[in-house]
């Protein structure tokens, strides 16, 4: 197993943020929240892209020397040719400024075609062996270029193409790519429901020792022409299915280093209890 993975630091429970989140009507300031709730928020997961870079909120956190992870929003890990030298150079600068513990991000397509503003849309990978092999190759190349642990994440989607189960797909990616894995519990619960499966389907056989980070967030049930689906809205309360995935993953992931509660666009009082619950489940000291 990669030394980068073996030496990854334990970060505890963190909160997510995205570029210029502060311009939204409701946005939690991680720096202020950490001071208001001592011991509940241990790191910031910075969601950004090379086009816009970092915002003031992200820089204020990093300037205090507090732990971060970097979540890219603009790399198609499912498409090896998307990893170009300019993107690597700009991402290196961001990772250095943040002193990010690792680089993670939804592992699929962040844009259709080349990286252009109009092309932005998050789509899942095609769930086949050849696609997983290409993603593993991209992960290895990215990790080598950044000299940083790369942690792909299962993205949200309503429609998937390809015969593989999501967990079987990423099992191949993380094994062949010799990397960590970020299991988004809510995204997995959405996938299982979309295929009519129970929340813990395909858990057996997954390389849980590679899971270094878990995400959890709330969602909202939607209906389109009679199709029931769950939107990944990042509401305060995760679904029972997402919690079931979280609890089961937590008990299996012996090398878990971090848990992110994706909740920054909600009032603080509505997310406090879940921060307490997550810290009880995954104490920073281990």
């Amino acid at each position: 197993m990669s030394p980068l993975l073996q030496n990854a630091p334990r970060l505890g429970v963190g909160i997510s943020c995205e570029f210029n989140g502060g311009t939204r009507a409701v946005n939690l300031d991680a720096v202020a929240l950490r001071e208001a709730w001592p011991g509940l928020i241990h790191f910031l997961e910075v969601g950004a892209d090379t086009r816009r870079g970092l915002d003031d909120h992200m820089r204020r956190w990093a300037a205090q020397g507090l732990p971060t992870t970097y979540h890219f929003l603009d790399l198609n890990l499912a498409e090896a040719e998307d990893l170009d030298p300019l993107w690597v150079q700009r991402t290196q600068a961001i990772v250095a400024e943040l002193s990010a513990a690792w680089v993670c991000g939804d592992a699929g397509y962040w844009h259709v075609g080349a990286r252009e503003p109009v092309h932005d849309v998050l789509l899942p990978p095609v769930l086949t062996r050849s696609s997983a092999a290409e993603m593993a190759q991209a992960v290895r190349a990215l990790s080598a270029a950044l000299n940083t642990l790369v942690v792909p994440e299962n993205p949200p989607a309503v429609a998937y193409v390809g015969p593989l189960h999501l967990l079987d797909y990423y099992a191949q990616v993380v094994s062949d790519g010799d990397c960590g894995f970020l299991l988004d519990c809510s995204h997995l619960a959405i996938f299982q429901a979309s295929r009519g499966l129970t929340p813990l389907t395909a858990f057996d056989g997954f390389p849980w020792e590679r899971v270094v980070e878990l995400h959890i967030a709330g969602g909202r049930p939607r209906q389109t022409e009679g199709l029931h689906w769950m939107e990944d809205t990042h509401d305060p309360e995760p679904t029972p299915q997402a919690w079931a995935v979280f609890e089961a993953a937590l008990s299996r992931a012996k090398n878990l280093k971090a848990v992110v509660y994706e909740c920054e666009h909600n009032p603080a009082e509505e997310v406090y209890d879940n921060f307490v619950r997550l810290n009880d489940a995954f104490p920073v000291e281990g």
């Binding site: 086009r51 499912a78 498409e79 040719e81 170009d84 030298p85 300019l86 993107w87 397509y109 259709v112 075609g113 080349a114 990286r115 252009e116 503003p117 109009v118 092309h119 932005d120 849309v121 789509l123 990978p125 095609v126 086949t128 050849s130 696609s131 290409e134 309503v158 429609a159 193409v161 390809g162 015969p163 979309s194 939607r222 389109t224 022409e225 009679g226 199709l227 689906w229």
Partner: protein, 283 residues
Amino acid sequence: MSHQILHRVTARMLWDDQFARQVFEAPDQALAGLDLDDEERAALATLDPRALRVDPLRRRRTLQALCAELPVSVALTLSELGRISSLDAYFQSAPFHRAMMARGSMFLAFTEYLRSLNLRCPQLPDVLRVEEALGVCRRELERPCPRISAAPVPTHVWTARAPGVGVLTVDGETLTWMNAVQQTLFELSLIPAMGLVSDGPRVPPLSPPGEQAPKLLVVHPAAGGSGLLELGRVVHTFLGQLDSPTLATDALNQACRLGLSEAKAESLIFDLHEEGLIIAEAP
């Protein structure tokens, strides 16, 4: 690799309902010519059609982003055709589908689509060229610039027009037309509901092309403002010659051939470099 084809076809189905329907109803015909096996065709044809429609505003959002870069061209187009469906039809067009399959640019496919409409508006071609050039220059800053990165690199110190800088010659009235249309769009933005009424602001009559001397533009969106500079014939021609990496000595000679003394040519190259309009690198 077939998984990339599957991804690109799925994306086309997301944006084009009509194409998706063809895939569901006659996959062999709709997917003819693509390197997909029976199982892969079946995977596409058995997608739940409703799952492709969970975002009813997908096309509108994409159009919004496209129109933001081509506001005047789109205004002239809609002013002539009078139907938003004429823009929606882009997603059923050959340029769109070709771009999606070739990992090309939706933006350039959209400008190709607008040209393919062959509208009567005589001002549209040059307006479209200006807005397209701005978009191309913005894209050159997003990823390795192909006219530089894909070209052979000289063995000695070289120079080239910087990524994100372009040159263009258009009708002398083009910027006047664009300002007039932008004024209309600004008025509409004050009360967007004015777009629903018959007596709201409309594109004013525009002067015909060919009445003024052609305008020589340097396109440089990173400079801010309109991103359009008028720097004179020598600079315009010189920058136009530096499309790809050129030996520094050759670049100096080119500047001299434009009528500059060697000292003035050196000074020009220095100034252009300082202003970020050209780059200079050693191999």
